[in-house]
Each structure stands twice: as structure tokens, then as C-alpha cells.
Subunit: 332 residues, 2 copies
């Protein structure tokens, strides 16, 4: 099956590039509310499921034991921009469990934030703390410490931390996550490929607690609350996930993943969402998510206006001249 | 028509992302040697035609008048990485025509080279000299000075420089470039959408001189020679265009454009090449170009070995672990 063109990039009056993809919206019973394109083949959710990867940390009491507040929990779910307060927050998470940044195994990269990257370049070189995944990794490390297991190899699929993460993913999505759908993520932890319809189901459960044991439902609600209260810590200045959750609070949970993935939950509607662009384009996945929010979540006029520039974003060149636009197609 | 999947991005044993596209290979008579996907719809070649944009500068004697050598001519055709010698070369071009960098209208961005970007961040902020198009813009400015026209608005479609560029593009490609296919490029100059088959024809003529008036054919040969002699100035350290032309010299001319475009010429085979990935992915266009070179240009075993990692490139994560690969499909 060939997925439909969902997003077009215009330059002047001509379509310069096209993005195909698939979208699943489901309720917590797994009923398809929207299934556009092939929602049954396994896709790697990458960072879009960080909130599910952070769930054991909360559910089993490690987050409470180390006194994690909203900022720390949001960082555990984050692909942060490596801005100074993100880095300080991750250091704080590690310190609360008596760990140093040298325990992080995510690898180093320059901050996503260009301003932060320039600062890091001025001062020296980036460290693992600047990696957008460092909050997730700090969460894994703290969870390992609370479990009382050797934390050194926390990133390996056979480590108790990753085995528990896998069990949580299977519980939420209903998918069986065997070796054949396992690969290695950019930050070295395992990533399992899951069909979009199962990811949508998983996020409907994450948003509502339906179908989860009570302590798991409470952990999900706590993570959603933390992200809604501290959305800057989930991404960073000017980024989509941050701005959407700043705008809509607990009404929308949204999280980007690499290679054109978004997952999200609309708790009041009882819906979960999973998006994948065939070609891995984040610019397209973001536009799709903006349109899906506008379609399923009742919005005030001011909220609609705030979201509109994401559904149709102006393309500007290096001189700030508008040269085109990125917008969703009629298939949506 | 739906273009075929030409490149797959694997993570572990699963296809994570897919890139569709079209490829045209033609001779200087416009005969299709290869037409994969839709090669008849207009696409913006963007920076892939910088050598054609630089042609009037050489053909009409401005390059000789200002004493441009191989490095300056390569920079006029370049999407350079903003490394120190690129920046110095562009300053030199401007100085030879008595111009200062403040005349550049390409806009500023951080160097493509991460090392150079870090250096620029340490020292301050990027300038228009660091813009990957600054050599092309310096060429436009010098051409305007040699024409004796006011250079200030050299980037506008109605300026004599851009009108001459458009006439050259029409002569090479055989396409009529009206207002309806004109848009603004990232660096503010006009860009005209041209069908891939016409771009392939244009580069077959660029590579062979067939079908061009003698002074135009000589200018094309001079630019190819300059790029082959100084390929580092066409892109930069570690980049595909540079490495391919370092490897194969005048046997292959190759140039990337934004949004998943490559153009090239195989002079000995009399062929021109034009590639566009539907979704704008440069990673895919590069893999396709590597395969097209290997298919049409007779290569030594060592040259084949040097090119192979571009046709199938290893994907490594932040810890240097191989997590997947980018490779072309059987459609190629």
C-alpha cells in the first residue's frame, strides 16, 4: 500500500517537495477513529514514546524516592534542546541519586538550540548532558539505582531497566515486542518497532488510564501533569511540543520522535495519536499533528490562531523573505 | 505518476524510512538514456546548477579580467562549507573587483562545517561570507561590475545578471523559463523549475560542449576544469561533491542542490544527470548519484571501493555504534 501525500512544500506557486505518511487515531479500546495510510506495519517510535519509557521510574516509586518534581519528570520524557536549564535539570536528577554525569551513556552532541550550541562551542565541546536524550537516560539511571541493580549497563536490552520498559510498552500498545522488531536508537537504548494503530491505542491508554492497572494509570497521569506544567522541559524554546502543551495544557500531550514520528494523547476525547512520515521528515509530521489537534480537540479561536502557523508554516530564506510554505494536503 | 522508492533507510533489520524520487540521464541531443519516475514535471534545481549560473561570468570575460583562478571559479560554482579558506577565497573574489563583503545579499548562516561553525560561534556570529552561496554571489557581483551595471540589486530577476543567467539556463536545458516557474531561492536569487530530463540534457551539454556556441562551450570546459582541480572549493571537507571530484577528476562533474537534488555530467560518456527526491532528502539523492556514477562511468576497483560507502552508507549513533544503513533499492 502506498501512503498518501499528506504534506506539500511549496516554493513560489510550485510544489517543491512532497511527504507521504500514515496517521492512526484510536481510543483506549483500540477502535480506529482515523486510519490514514498503512497503520499496521511496525514503525520505530523513537523518542515519541519517552513518556512510556519513563513510566517505570514513576510507577515503582523511584521518582518519589529521589524527590523528582515536575521539571525532572518532564525531562525524563524530553527531547530537550540542551539549553542551560535543561542541562542543570539533568545534573540535578543524577545528583539526587548520587550519580555523576559520567554515568550517562547517551553520547554527546551539540545542543538542538542554536543559541545553546553557540554557547557550548564558545566554552568548549558538548557533553552527554547536552544530548537531547540525557533526561531520559538520567531517569533510566535513577530507576536502576532505586531497583538496586548495577546501573552501568542500563542501556542494554537485557538490563532490568530496559526489560521493564519493554513490558510497559507491550502493556500499553498490545504489541508483542520480540527481537525481530528491536533495533538500537540514536542514544544507544533499544527501540522496538510498533504498528501505528498500536501506538495510538497505547497513547489513548496513557491519556485516560483505561485498561491499565491503577498504579500504572496514576503514573501516566503524573507524567502528563508534569509535562503540561513544565512543557519547556519536554523540548525547549520555540519548539512544537513545548508550545503546544504551553497553549493547551493537559488537554493535549504531544511528543516528537526522530524520522518523522509524532505520538500524542487527547485525554478529554479519550484518543491516542500516532503519525509517521514515510521519509522521516519531522517538518511534515509536525504539520500533520497540528491539523490532527485542530480536528479532534475543541479549540477557542485564539487557540486555533496559535496553532494555524504549524499546520501551514511560512518558509523564509536567509534574508527573512517568504519563499514558500509547508502545508497539509486535502488527504487530511 | 507515483515515483518509485529509490532509497531505504534501515534500522536494524527493518526499513525505517523510504525515499521516492526520479532520475534522468540524457545525452547532449536530449535522448533519454535513463528515465526513472516522472522526469517531465518541473523541479527546482536550486544549487545544483550553480555552474550554469557562473557561466556568464566566464563566457563574457569577467573572470579573466579579475584574474580568477581555479579556486575562485570553483567557489563561484560552490555550496561551500564556510571553512576559513572558503571565506578567504570569497573575500579575494570580491576584492579583485574592488568590492567589500557588505555587497553580498545572500544572507548569513552558520557554516555547514560543524568545526567551522564552532569557530565562528567562538569568535562572534556568522556573516554573509559564511553562507554556502557566497562564492556564487561574489561571482554575480563581479559579473555585474564587469558589465558596468549597478550591482546593488544583482539578485533580482529583472537585473541584467539574472536575465543573462536565465538565458543561459534556457540555452542549456531547452526549457522556457517564464514567471510561472520562477521562485526565490534560499539566498534570494531567482530559481526556475525545470523538468529533470531538460536538466539532464543541460548537463550533457555542459559536460561535452555539444550544442553550445564555441565561447559558451569553452566557458563550460573552464568551469569543469576548475572544479576538478579544486574540488574542495566546490563543497568542503568530507562532503560528497568534493570527494567524488577528488576521486574521479574531470571524468565526473557533480553538484548537490537543496531539497534532494543532484545534477552532474559524465563528459567521456557524453551524459548529463539530474536527480530529485520527492521529499527533499539530500541523504537519498547522494546515494542515488553514487549508484548512477558506478553504473555509467567505468571505474577502477579502487574507485568502486571508494564510492561504495556512498551508495550504501552506515548509520551510526552518537556513540559510534552502527544502528542501520542507507542504501538504494532494486529500482535502481
Amino acid at each position: 500500500m502506498t501512503n498518501p501525500v499528506l504534506v506539500e512544500v511549496m516554493r513560489g506557486s510550485i510544489v517543491e517537495s512532497r511527504h507521504r505518511g500514515a496517521v492512526a487515531v484510536a481510543d483506549a479500546e483500540g477502535r480506529d477513529v482515523l486510519a490514514l495510510g498503512d497503520v499496521t506495519i511496525p514503525v520505530f517510535p523513537r523518542s515519541a514514546i519517552k513518556a512510556l519509557q519513563a513510566l517505570p521510574l514513576v510507577e515503582q516509586g523511584a521518582a518519589a524516592r529521589y524527590g523528582f518534581g515536575d521539571q525532572e519528570l518532564a525531562l525524563a520524557c524530553a527531547s530537550h534542546s540542551g539549553e542551560p536549564a535543561h542541562v542543570a535539570g539533568v545534573e540535578r536528577m543524577l545528583a539526587k541519586a548520587g550519580l555523576s554525569p559520567s554515568a550517562l551513556r547517551c553520547g554527546a552532541h551539540f545542543p538542538i538550540s542554536q543559541a545553546a550550541a553557540a554557547e557550548v562551542a564558545r566554552a568548549g565541546a558538548p557533553s552527554a548532558l547536552h544530548n537531547n536524550c540525557s533526561g531520559k537516560h538520567a531517569g533510566f539511571l535513577c530507576f536502576a539505582c532505586a531497583l538496586g541493580v548495577d546501573a552501568a549497563e542500563y542501556f542494554r536490552p537485557e538490563h532490568p531497566v530496559q526489560r521493564q520498559v519493554r513490558a510497559v510498552l507491550e502493556d500499553f500498545t498490545g504489541a508483542v515486542l520480540g527481537q525481530e522488531v528491536c533495533a538500537i536508537d540514536g542514544c544507544s537504548v533499544p527501540t522496538w518497532a510498533v504498528p501505528l494503530k498500536n501506538l495510538a491505542l497505547g497513547f489513548a491508554k496513557f491519556g485516560t488510564g483505561h485498561g491499565l492497572v491503577p498504579e500504572r494509570a496514576r503514573a501516566a497521569a503524573r507524567l502528563r501533569q508534569a509535562c503540561a506544567r513544565q512543557p519547556w522541559y519536554v523540548a525547549g524554546t520555540g519548539r512544537f511540543c513545548t508550545e503546544v502543551m504551553q497553549l493547551l495544557g493537559e488537554r493535549v500531550f504531544v511528543k516528537a520522535g526522530a524520522e518523522g514520528v509524532y505520538c500524542g494523547a487527547f485525554p478529554e476525547q479519550g484518543l491516542g495519536i500516532a503519525i509517521k512520515c514515510d521519509d522521516g521528515a519531522g517538518r511534515a509530521a509536525q504539520a500533520i499533528m497540528a491539523v490532527i489537534i485542530a480536528r479532534f480537540v475543541p479549540l477557542e479561536a485564539s487557540e486555533q490562531a496559535a496553532l494555524a502557523p504549524y499546520a501551514r508554516s511560512s518558509l523564509q530564506n536567509w534574508n527573512g523573505i517568504e519563499v514558500g510554505a509547508i502545508s497539509v494536503t486535502e488527504a487530511l
